[in-house]
Amino acid sequence: MKAEAMKETGMRGMRTNRQRAGGVAPTLVFTSLLMILVASGLVAETPAEAPSGASAETPTGPVATDRVPVTGGTFDPILLVGDRRTTTVESFLLNRSPVTNGEYLAFVRANPQWRRSEVPTIFAGNGYLAHWAADLEPGSRTLAREDAPVVGVSWYAASAYCRWAGGRLPTEQEWEYVLARSLPEDPSARTTAAGELLGFYADPVNALVELLARGETRQPTAGTFVLMPGPVVEWVEDYQATILGSGADPTQLGCGVSSQLVTGRTLEDQAGLVRYTRRSALSARSATSAVGFRCAADIE
C-alpha cells in the first residue's frame, strides 16, 4: 500500500481507496484492533476458547440463537463505492433482535473482565453500561430493562460478545443490505419510514424509550427483524470503513460536500448519510446510549 495512498485522508482518498469487505486498509485497521483485543486476553482466538480468567462455559439460555438466514444479493448502498453504486452481499445469518440487557448480563457474568468496574478504559469509554445500576445489576431504568436492546457498549465489547456467542459482528454492507430490505417497498410508505428514521436520529434516546414503552422492541412491527429500522446505531465490524486514518477525517462533510458521496436525494438517502457519518465518527471505545448491536454469523 503506497504511502501516498495512505496519506489521502481527504475526500478524494476516501473515494478511491474505499473498498468493500476485503479492502486492504479497513481490514488492516480492524485486524490490528482485533490483535490488540486478542493480545490482551479479552477475546478468545476461537469462539470455543474462553478468555483467560473467565469461566469456560459457553453461552446458553438467554443468548440469542434466533438467527435469521439472509439470502445474499445485490443492492445500492447509500454511499458510492468508488464509481460503483451497486454492491453484492453474500448470504449470512443475522440475529432477529439486537442483543438485550438480559443477554449482555449473561456475558458479563461469564466474563468478569467486561464488567463495568473491571473493563480497561481503552476498551470502553465513560458511557459503558452507564444506565445499569451495578456491574451485575441492570436495574430499573427503562433503558436497562431485561428485554431492551443493550446500549452503552463499545465496539470492543460488542465484538467480544459476538465471538463469545459463537458469531461475529455483521459487516457494514451486510447490515445496510438488511436495512434496505426492511424498509417498505411502496415508495410513499418508504419515504414516510425514512422520515421517521430521521426523527429517530434527531432524538434517539427518547425514541428508544418510546418504542420500549409501546412494546415495539420484542416483535418486528414490519419485516423480519426487530428494531430494523430503529433509533439505535448498531455496531458493525468495519464501522470505520469510510475513514482511512486517525485525526483527519475524510467523512468531514462540511456544508455541501455530501453530494460527492450520495447520489440520491430521497429521505432514505439522507437518513443513510446521517447514519453513516454518525457511525463512522465513533471510536472503537465509544459507548453511548444510542449505540447497540446485534450479531451475525457465517452460514456453515
Binding site: 458511557g127 468531514q252 453511548t288
Partner: protein, 424 residues
C-alpha cells in the same frame, strides 16, 4: 489470525506513515503582507500550525467559558485595547428546550442554549476554542452556570436571561463546528468529534462582521433546525463611525424549526421519570448537577425532515423561541441610537428584516464597515447572512421587530422594542 507479528509490524509501519499526516505536524501557516488584499487584515507570520486536535480527556463542569461570551440578545463588551487571545470553551450538548408555548423538543446546542452563545471579539483577535461533546451526558445548563464560577459572566446570569430553563436530554451524536469568521483549512480544522471527546482548535478573526458558527456534520439542515448555531461578532479594528453615539446594542438571531408531534402512547404512563439516567440524583451544588424541578416524560415534538426539505417550518423564531422578544422585549429610551446585530441562521429561508415605525439610518451589510448603506426600510438576509443596523427611536411607544415573510405570520418571527423616555 495468522502471523500476528507480521500484522503488528505492518500496523506500526503504517501508523508511522500517518504521523506525518496528523494535524499539528503541518508547516505553520506563514502568511506575508504581500499576500493580503489591501485594507484588509493580514495573516500573522507567527501563526501556530493549522489544524485541530481531538482528545479523550473527558471533563465535566460548566459548558460555557470565556469572558466575552453572552446569551442573545446581549453582546458582551470588549474591555481590551488592541488585540488579544480569547480562550473559549463551548461544549456541545442536548437539552429539552421549548420552541413556544407547550412545544418541547430535544434541541442540539452549543453551550446549552438556542441560539448558542454570542462570542464578541475584535478584528485581529485570536480565538482558542475548546469543546467537549457531551451529547450523551445529562446537563442542566442553568445549574451549571449558577453554581460554577468558571462560567462566562453572562452565562452566570442565565437564570435572569432565560426564565424557561432548558432541561437535560441525551442525543448522542458526533458533532463538528465551523466558525464562518475563520479562514482555515477546513479538512484539517473543522473535524468531527464523538461523544466524550474534546476538540481544540485556533483561528484568527481576520475580518470584521457578524458571522455564524454551526455544526457542519450531516445533516446540516437538521443540526441547524435543532438549534445548533451561534454567532461571532467581530468588531472592526477601528470600530464603526457611530460608536460614540450608540446607546444600546442587541443581537437578534432568526431561525426556523421543523417539528412534528411525536407519537406518544403508553410512554406518557411510564412511571420511570428518568428512563435513561438523564437526570442526576446528585444534588451537589458545586457541580451544578441538581435534579431539575420537572423531569417530565419524553419530548413531545420531533424533527420533521420532510418539512425541512420542503421549507415549511413549524416555527420561525427570534433568539430561539417563539414570542421570546414579545414576552421579554428589548428596551430603549426615546432618542436612543440603537444598534442591532442581526443574523438569519435559516437553515432554509431567506427573510427580510424591518421594524415598524423605523427607517434604518445606517446599515452595514455583513457587519462590515466598508459595506455601508443608508436609509433603508428593510434588509434581506439569506441563511447565514447578517447585518448591523442602526436607528434612532423617535418617540415613546412599542415598535415591532419583524422578520417578514407573510408565511411566517403567527409563527413567532417577531418581537417588540419598548421605548420609554428615560429608560435606564
Amino acid at each position: 489470525m495468522a502471523r500476528p507479528l507480521v500484522f503488528t509490524s505492518l500496523l506500526i509501519g503504517v501508523l508511522g506513515l500517518f504521523v506525518g499526516c496528523l494535524p499539528g505536524d503541518q508547516t505553520p501557516e506563514a502568511g506575508t503582507a504581500a499576500n493580503a488584499a489591501p485594507g484588509l487584515a493580514t495573516e500573522s507570520a507567527d501563526a501556530p500550525p493549522a489544524g485541530a486536535s481531538i482528545t479523550d480527556d473527558y471533563r465535566q463542569g460548566t459548558p460555557v467559558i470565556g469572558e466575552t461570551l453572552s446569551m442573545a440578545p446581549y453582546l458582551a463588551p470588549l474591555t481590551h485595547e488592541g488585540n488579544t487571545t480569547h480562550d473559549v470553551r463551548i461544549d456541545t450538548l442536548a437539552v429539552e428546550a421549548t420552541a413556544g408555548p407547550g412545544i418541547y423538543y430535544t434541541a442540539w446546542t452549543f453551550g446549552g442554549s438556542v441560539p448558542g452563545p454570542i462570542l464578541h471579539v475584535r478584528e485581529g483577535d485570536r480565538i482558542r476554542y475548546t469543546g467537549t461533546n457531551r451529547s450523551d451526558e445529562p446537563i442542566h445548563p442553568a445549574s451549571q452556570f449558577r453554581n460554577n464560577p468558571e462560567s462566562s459572566p453572562f452565562a452566570r446570569r442565565a437564570g435572569d436571561l432565560d426564565p424557561v430553563e432548558a432541561m437535560p436530554a441525551l442525543a448522542p451524536a458526533a458533532h463538528a463546528i465551523d466558525f464562518h469568521a475563520a479562514t482555515v483549512a477546513p479538512d484539517r480544522t473543522w473535524l468531527s468529534w464523538a461523544p466524550g471527546e474534546t476538540i481544540r482548535l485556533e483561528w484568527t478573526a481576520r475580518y470584521p462582521g457578524v458571522f455564524t458558527y454551526h455544526n457542519s456534520m450531516p445533516s446540516r439542515t437538521m443540526n441547524t433546525g435543532l438549534g445548533m448555531h451561534g454567532v461571532v461578532v467581530v468588531s472592526p479594528r477601528e470600530g464603526y463611525p457611530t460608536d460614540e453615539e450608540v446607546a444600546r446594542s442587541y443581537v437578534i438571531v432568526r431561525s426556523e424549526l421543523y417539528l412534528a408531534e411525536a407519537a406518544r402512547a403508553s410512554a406518557q404512563n411510564d412511571t420511570d421519570e428518568d428512563p435513561a439516567g438523564a437526570t442526576s440524583s446528585d444534588t451537589d451544588e458545586n457541580t451544578g448537577s441538581a435534579t431539575p424541578a420537572n423531569t417530565g416524560g419524553p419530548s413531545t415534538y420531533r424533527w420533521d425532515h420532510a418539512a425541512a426539505m420542503a421549507g415549511t417550518p413549524s416555527q420561525v423564531v427570534l433568539n430561539g423561541r417563539a414570542n421570546l422578544l414579545h414576552d421579554y422585549p428589548l428596551v430603549a429610551s426615546r432618542g436612543d441610537r440603537i444598534r442591532l446585530y442581526v443574523i438569519n441562521q435559516g437553515p432554509v429561508q431567506t427573510s427580510t428584516f424591518h421594524i415598524t415605525g423605523i427607517v434604518f439610518d445606517r446599515i452595514w451589510l455583513g457587519g462590515v464597515p466598508a459595506n455601508e448603506l443608508r436609509g433603508l426600510q428593510s434588509v434581506t438576509l439569506a441563511p447565514s447572512e447578517s447585518a448591523v443596523v442602526e436607528f434612532v427611536v423617535p418617540a415613546d411607544g412599542e415598535y415591532t421587530l419583524l422578520f417578514g415573510r407573510m408565511s411566517d405570520e403567527n409563527r413567532g418571527a417577531d418581537g417588540t422594542l419598548v421605548v420609554q423616555t428615560g429608560q435606564s
